[in-house]
């Protein structure tokens, strides 16, 4: 086992470095803030002879994902990066990548969707793609961004799964923030991630096959069911690969990671970079004697229903913190968490808090407020407003 090297780098460099360690063959990409540095770094690696790969400079994100699909069909290990409007422009191709069972990996610098135009952190872009059939991983810090890229390739290419995966790192909060990371040795990544040989066939003039053919009403539903089975069976495989990664590289990953949850009355459920702030808020509240815990979701797709029930099931109340909004209902994580408990005989009271949209700061005091509001709902047994927006500026509201 080679030694890991310490580096101090931005989030985009961490995901680009994670991708490079996986030796991708083809990287079609269209730069977009805040993930622009990813294709820049990949270009640099190729120009410097550090990475032997084909970079395709496409004219749009729709073309980027189209090129990813074509490349992946030839059996090439393929990745890209995007954000916000870019992910939105890829939308139709995302479904095709998943339906064709192509293990493409995309690093997303999570950013708000227009209008109004905004380049800052927000989970709306990937949340709006949650039905595309892609697996979704969210990083709390740059180290996770790097590791999750390696994990995403390994999980996506597993024969039992064969589905694309996106790794979300929060725009600017992670993409442009410099943090220390440990970089695994190349030979260890090579061992962890064997070369990709598509088991379902590949584009080869010597052996012609048909891909992406018509799925008539006689077959479509069975094909969609087959694809859905793959993502529904994924949790077991993800857990197995997370364990193997920990054994190899010494860093622990879970689909949902509990923190001080065992005796907690109230648990905060978070995703992405806000989890660090939430953990600090939990520590401070614990010092005040409040029984509060944190559950950090790393894997949003497949939705970790089993762990959600296990970790949150015994709490009195859960504050589901969403950095996205599905207008007309509430946050996406809240909707799915609520759905998870629908047939359980015992469910914690669930409150939803919308925070951090378009790069709005999320402070420790915000998490404390969420705790208090959830606690109050538990004590009174009344949930007047299931969905509440936090850290609103009354001075600018009309």
């Amino acid at each position: 086992m080679g030694e890991q090297k310490g580096l101090t780098i931005q989030g985009n460099m961490a995901t680009a470095l994670g991708a490079k360690l996986c030796k991708p063959d083809v990287i079609p990409a269209y730069p977009i803030t805040p993930s622009t540095l990813f294709p820049e770094k990949i270009s640099e690696y190729i120009a410097d002879g550090e990475l032997d790969a084909e970079m395709i400079r496409v004219e749009s994100e729709h073309s980027a994902m189209s090129a990813c699909i074509g490349a992946s069909l030839t059996g090439a290990r393929t990745c890209t990066a995007s954000a916000s409007q870019g992910v939105a422009l890829m939308h139709e191709m995302l479904f095709i990548a998943a339906g064709m069972r192509l293990p493409i990996v995309m690093a997303v610098g999570n950013r708000a969707l227009s209008a109004p135009i905004n380049i800052w952190a927000d989970h709306q872009d990937t949340m709006a793609s949650r039905d595309s059939g892609w697996m979704q991983f969210y990083a709390e810090k740059n180290q996770e961004g790097l590791d999750l890229m390696i994990l995403a390739f390994r999980i996506a290419e597993d024969e039992r799964i064969l589905l694309p995966a996106m790794v979300g790192i929060d725009g600017f909060v992670l993409t442009h923030t410099v943090e220390g990371v440990q970089v695994p040795a190349q030979e260890d990544v090579d061992e962890f991630l064997p070369s990709y040989e598509p088991p379902h066939g590949k584009l080869d003039p010597e052996e012609p096959m048909t891909f992406g053919s018509l799925g008539t009403p006689e077959y479509y539903q069975e094909l969609k069911h087959d694809q859905t089975q793959a993502i529904e069976n994924a949790p077991e495989v993800i857990d197995e690969i997370f364990d193997e990664f920990e054994e190899e590289f010494g860093r622990e990953y879970n689909r949902v990671t509990p923190y001080k949850c065992e005796d907690a009355d109230i648990i905060l459920l978070t995703m992405g970079s806000m989890s660090g702030t939430a953990r600090a808020a939990v520590d401070e509240m614990r010092e005040e004697g409040k029984k509060v815990g944190l559950a950090k979701m790393t894997v949003f797709r497949p939705f970790p229903s089993d762990l959600i029930k296990e970790i949150l099931g015994d709490a009195d109340g859960v504050a589901v913190v969403d950095r996205n909004i599905s207008p007309g209902f509430g946050g996406a994580v809240f909707a799915e968490t609520a759905g998870t408990f629908i047939n359980e005989s015992k469910s914690p009271l669930l409150k939803n808090f919308i925070v951090g949209l378009g790069g709005r700061e999320i402070f420790k005091k915000n998490f404390k407020e969420m705790y208090e509001k959830t606690k109050e709902a538990v004590e009174t047994g009344e949930v007047e407003k299931p969905v509440e927006w936090i850290n609103m500026d009354e001075d600018v509201m009309r």
């Binding site: 066939g201 891909f211 094909l223």
Partner: protein, 89 residues
């Protein structure tokens, strides 16, 4: 068409399979020709959007592997030799 087992992602390892794909199954109404009335003017052949009419010795016949049952032939037939009938499936 006989049923086939699906493959992962619907990959078809045998190319050229579209020849086996019969689209007549979409049909609910089926044309029938009265060969006594047919004058072989072939208006039905000209108007059929799917090329599903064939000339025979005595009259015409329909290629039910592809006929969608649109009924244009019935409407265009100048001697009312074609009648659309509900197809039992």
């Amino acid at each position: 068409m006989s049923k086939v087992k699906i493959t992962i992602a619907g990959v078809n390892k045998k190319p050229g399979s579209s020849r086996e794909y019969k689209t007549g199954g979409w049909r609910t109404m089926k044309p029938e020709v009265d060969i006594e009335k047919c004058i072989q003017c072939l208006k039905c052949f000209d108007y059929c959007p799917d090329g599903a009419v064939k000339k025979t010795e005595d009259a015409i016949e329909f290629d039910l592997d592809y006929c969608k049952g649109c009924g244009i032939c019935e409407r265009e037939c100048p001697v009312d030799a074609i009648e659309m009938k509900v197809e039992e499936k």
